[in-house]
């Protein structure tokens, strides 16, 4: 499989009130297309920071980042935004749906930020991804009218709507009960089986083991990178 993401000696520091906090130190990593990997580690070890950098939500202090062969480490804010809405899908722990928008409006958001997308395409695509996560019947509801599990499924649909190169999930089951957590994880398994590249931050060892590959972080550094033998899934095709 070809490399979708390559990180070389990535560091990230935060400066707050003259105190420098090194969140990431010299992290190097390669993620192949169609790979399903989990990122684990203690709180404050830098998992979310790494995920933010992977998702171009932030830029590294040092190092280089290639996404699908393009150096994205020094892009401007708007250039990063353009890549995010085309190539990256996010799923957050706290769902991060916009409360004033309906389910379908939330899902279509990434497409509305792309140019040249027709409204009929948006309509069809939204219907397709909502069907995929089994939320079509709630398309006109507001997030506050949904359960946590349903909200997370909508968030997954939003992450899929732009047919991203990679889905980044930050503790996707952290706010869910075990039944809903299992449903979401099954959805991820299914997406991976359909060829999606997924990178998931998790505290849950059981969830971590469902990925093909597990990365472990400690104090801003990658300290473990293992293939999971328990993972039974192999991608059918490249891309979602």
């Amino acid at each position: 499989m070809s490399a979708l993401i390559t990180l070389e000696n990535i560091s990230k520091s935060f400066l707050t009130e003259d105190i420098e906090t090194r969140a990431l130190q010299q992290v190097s990593l390669t993620i192949s297309q169609g790979e399903y990997l989990s990122l684990t580690g203690q709180s404050g070890c830098g998992k979310s920071t790494l995920l933010s950098l992977l998702g171009l939500l932030d830029s590294p202090t040092k190092g280089q980042y290639w996404l699908a062969g393009q150096d994205v480490s020094t892009l401007s804010r708007n250039e990063r935004a353009a890549i995010r809405c085309k190539k990256i899908g996010f799923v957050f722990q706290s769902f991060n749906l916009i409360s004033d928008l309906t389910v379908s409006e939330n899902v279509m958001l990434p497409l509305t930020y792309q140019s040249g997308v027709t409204s009929s395409y948006i309509k069809d695509k939204v219907a397709e991804v909502l069907a995929k996560v089994e939320m079509s019947h709630r398309a006109n509801h507001y997030p506050s009218q949904l359960s946590g599990g349903q909200q997370q499924r909508v968030a997954v649909a939003r992450a899929l709507v732009n047919t991203p190169d990679i889905i980044l999930a930050d503790e996707p089951t952290g706010n869910l009960d075990s039944k809903n957590a299992e449903a979401v994880m099954s959805l991820f398994d299914q997406l991976h089986q359909d060829g999606a590249t997924i990178c998931m931050v998790t505290h849950d060892p059981k969830s971590a083991k469902r990925a093909q590959r597990s990365l472990e972080m400690f104090d801003g550094q990658l300290v473990g990178d293992v293939k999971n033998t328990e993972s039974n899934f192999t991608p059918k095709a490249v891309g979602v």
Binding site: S48, T49, S52, G55, L57, D58, R77, N78, A81, A82, R84, C85, K86, F90, F92, S94, F95, N96, L97, I98, S99, D100, L109, P110, Y113, Q114, P143, S144, Q151, R158, N162
Partner: protein
């Protein structure tokens, strides 16, 4: 103890954010001060009980004749006084200006001619001597007068032996019988009180003189009951007069109102309500802004409040705790506003004293009083309710689970968003209205100040006098007296020329060879009786001749007409020797045009264009009037120019009654211009402050709304929104509020503009209102967009990863 801790905590919070505290205080002090000052000024001017014993029961009697203000005649008073059962006191008086002769020179003072009972009505005793009694007003009684404490101190150095001594008032030797206390100037600006003789009460047919009157209703009788009875009696008298003297019937109504209200022509309440509404709009704006600033603070503490609530604090405790910050700011703002308003009122007093030589009406005494303090308390409490209690109540009643759970359901933010949008719309509406009113008032004031009047009053003195008709009953005698006075004034080496101008009203004129089917078709012009060259007051002859000594009552009636009239009726030919018929009273006179003079602003129009209406000057030798407005131009640098007239008057006849003191002709006009300029400045400052409030308020509201949506901004950016799309989103949402608020304001303005257009006699073209509306709308739109853009720009600087973690 708990309250003390809460206060201590609130004070610590205020000191911790000095910029927030200063901005909140600034907004609050501005809003409170403008509202409080407006209230106090208008209350003292229109409603406040007079500063006399039982001042609240002192009423001025005013007559509404066909809806217009009028006065009682002495005859009306005589016939009414014995018929009324609802009044405890009822009397008449006349206001005047009295000349006090001191050797060769003298001073003029405001005075009142009064009768027995006047001082008892006012409830004030003299500090020396006695008041006017019934014997003093008997025909032929020795003239007596009371002087004010100021005259006593300044002209007589507080001499205790003054009672019984004499003073020359308008040339008449008069005995001083009393000295009234300092500050006593009832009924208005009087410094001297002389007698109103029983003579005025004698029946004189329908020509009885008008008098001002006062009344106090009996205990247990309402003002309405008294008004009804007086109206009924006056109508009966009027009906008898209609039959007796063949006069046109009128609709009469008696109104008992405060002296202040009577002075404003009864329109005081409209002005009071309008200006107070404007001031309250400012206070409302200030409350919205302060409330919003405090709401932002309480929202910042939402998590803290939720923790306190989770630990067992009840709503009352939470509200009181959250309120203290706002309460302290409101109390401090209220206190500082009271100090500021007290200083502003003192300054207003000083300004009035310097502008108006007589110091103005005695109730024009502005300062901090009980009513203003009471209103300050009310305003402060309203501010506390609107800007402290409501935000605190809202915050204290939040869903603690949602807040503590790092809520994402967003039900609360939806409500907050709606409230924020409503507040922005309200702000835009209020500010737009204030700016539109301010602009139009400033425009009118500016136009009024710079209006072309068509005359030249530089170095011109004016005097108004009434010839005593009992002494000079025939027109010939009256004309001789006027001419004698003109000659006396002309003899002075400093006098360049003299003219008399007496406005005889707007009169109908009938052009030769033209038929008028309806009365409304008959044209009108302002008619002015004049003796002497009009060039004295800057009205220049352009064709023909001036009046001369050969224009007498026995010769053909001649007229000078304005250029506008010549152009209107004889556009392509000379108007000289043209004739028309002029209706003066019940008589019609054939007039011949002998000259054309430059246009002049008509006295009957306040805002009209100089050539909008016409003037006809008729010779004062052919149409003789006992009332004269006398103008004389003096050489530049002439000192004591007023003395010229007084000396001439004393040499001619000392009994000539001056109805207005001799003064530079420009003085009244300048006073009016100064007051218009002041009004314009106040309006501009108010509008500017409103705009500043709007800028601060809308910035605060948007900053608050954006801050509340920082997380949403993070989400949108995480999924690919660019800076531009986020900025446009906020601008678009703000734009909606702008369009709604501005649209409503423009609708209201359209209605107001129609009123203004009528009021200003269509002086400004309709297009100017459009220009004004568009300018204000554009200016406000730019300000609002800047106020929205600034916090948005700040919010989008944040990296999405930070924004997503933002609480």
């Amino acid at each position: 103890m708990l309250m003390f801790l809460d206060i201590k905590y609130a004070i610590r919070q205020l000191f911790k954010s000095p910029r927030f505290t200063a901005m909140t205080l600034f907004v609050l002090i501005g809003g409170l001060s403008i509202s409080l000052f407006t209230f106090s000024f208008l209350y003292s001017t229109v409603y406040k009980p007079l500063s006399l014993p039982n001042g609240d029961s002192i009423k001025a009697v005013t007559i509404l004749k066909n809806g217009n203000f009028d006065m009682l005649t002495a005859n009306d008073f005589t016939q009414m006084k014995d018929e009324l059962n609802t009044l405890a006191e009822f009397g008449i008086y006349q206001e005047s200006t009295t000349r006090v002769s001191i050797e060769d020179s003298g001073k003029s003072y405001s005075s009142a001619r009064v009768r027995e009972g006047f001082f008892k009505f006012a409830g004030v005793e003299p500090i020396l001597g006695r008041t006017i009694n019934a014997e003093d007003t008997v025909v032929g009684a020795n003239p007596v007068a009371l002087i004010s404490e100021e005259i006593w101190q300044s002209d007589y150095r507080g001499n205790n032996e003054i009672i019984g001594s004499t003073i020359i008032l308008d040339g008449v030797v008069t005995e001083i019988v009393g000295v009234m206390p300092a500050e006593y100037r009832f009924p208005n600006t009087a410094r001297l009180w002389t007698t109103l003789s029983d003579d005025v009460l004698k029946p004189e047919g329908n020509n009885s003189a008008w008098h001002r009157s006062y009344a106090r209703v009996k205990s247990g009788v309402t003002i309405t009951q008294a008004e009804q009875e007086m109206t009924q009696v006056l109508r009966q008298i009027h009906q008898e007069n209609v039959k007796l003297y063949q006069i046109e019937p009128s609709d009469l109504q008696v109104k008992l109102m405060t002296f202040q209200m009577a002075q404003t022509g009864g329109e005081g309440s409209i002005v009071f309500s309008f200006l107070n509404a404007v001031a309250l709009m400012i206070l409302l704006l200030a409350c919205i802004n302060v409330g919003n600033l405090l709401l932002a603070r309480t929202l910042d503490k939402q998590k803290e409040t939720a923790i306190r609530s989770a630990l067992g604090a009840n709503s009352v405790r939470l509200v009181s705790q959250l309120m203290w910050e706002g309460v302290l700011i409101a109390l401090l703002g209220g206190f500082l506003s009271v100090l500021l308003v007290a200083a502003a009122l003192d300054y207003t007093n000083m300004a009035l004293q310097s502008w108006i030589p007589s110091g103005g009406s005695f109730w024009w005494r502005y300062g901090m009083d009980g009513a203003t303090l009471g209103m300050a308390v009310v305003f402060t409490l309203v501010t506390i309710l609107l800007s402290s209690f409501l935000p605190a109540w809202r915050s204290a009643n939040q869903d603690i689970n949602t807040t503590l759970r790092d809520g994402t359901r967003g039900a609360q933010s939806k409500k907050a968003g709606r409230l924020s949008r409503l507040l922005v719309t309200t702000q835009v509406f209020l500010v737009a209205i204030l700016m539109l009113i301010g602009s139009i008032s400033a425009y009118i004031a500016h136009s009024f100040i710079n209006i072309e009047l068509g005359d030249d009053y530089s170095h011109v003195m004016s005097a108004r006098f009434q010839i005593p008709t009992d002494k000079y009953p025939s027109e010939k005698q009256q004309l001789n007296l006027t001419q004698e006075l003109i000659q006396q004034v002309k003899q002075h080496p400093s006098v360049v020329d003299v003219v008399t101008n007496n406005w005889a009203g707007t009169r109908k004129l009938y052009l030769d060879n033209k038929e008028y089917l309806r009365d409304t078709e008959v044209p009108t012009a302002d008619v002015i009786q004049t003796i002497g060259p009009l060039a004295t007051v800057g009205v220049n002859l352009t064709i023909g001749r001036n009046f001369n000594v050969r224009d007498t009552q026995q010769t053909r009636k001649v007229a000078l007409i304005s250029e506008s009239m010549a152009k209107r009726y004889w556009p392509n030919e000379s108007a000289i020797d043209k004739s028309f018929t002029l209706e003066l009273g019940e008589e019609k006179h054939k007039m011949s045009v002998v000259g054309v003079v430059s246009n002049r602003m008509n006295p009957s129009t306040m805002f009209g264009k100089i050539d909008a209406a016409d003037e006809i000057y008729i010779s004062g030798q052919q149409f003789i009037a006992s009332y004269q407005v006398f103008f004389y131009r003096v050489l530049p640098g002439t000192e004591n120019a007023d003395e010229v007239f007084y000396r001439a008057m004393f040499n001619t006849d000392r009994s000539i009654e001056l109805t207005y003191q001799v003064q530079p002709a420009e003085q009244n006009r300048n006073k009016m211009r100064e007051s218009m300029a002041l009004l314009s400045n106040i309006t501009f400052i108010t509008g500017f402050f409103a705009l500043l409030l709007a800028l601060v308020g809308i910035y605060g509201l948007t900053a608050n709304a954006v801050a509340q949506r920082t997380h949403e901004v993070g989400i949108r950016r995480a999924i690919g929104a660019t800076d531009l799309s986020i900025t446009l989103m906020f601008l678009k949402q703000g734009g909606k509020q702008l369009v709604i608020g501005l649209g409503l304001a423009l609708l209201c303005f359209a209605l107001m503009a129609m009123g203004f257009h009528q009021f200003t006699e269509q002086l400004f073209p309709v297009m100017s209102y459009y220009v004004l509306a568009i300018s204000v709308a554009l200016g406000l739109s730019i300000i609002v967009m800047i106020a929205i853009f600034m916090p948005t720009k700040r919010a989008i600087q944040m990296e999405p990863s930070v924004a997503l973690r933002y609480e």
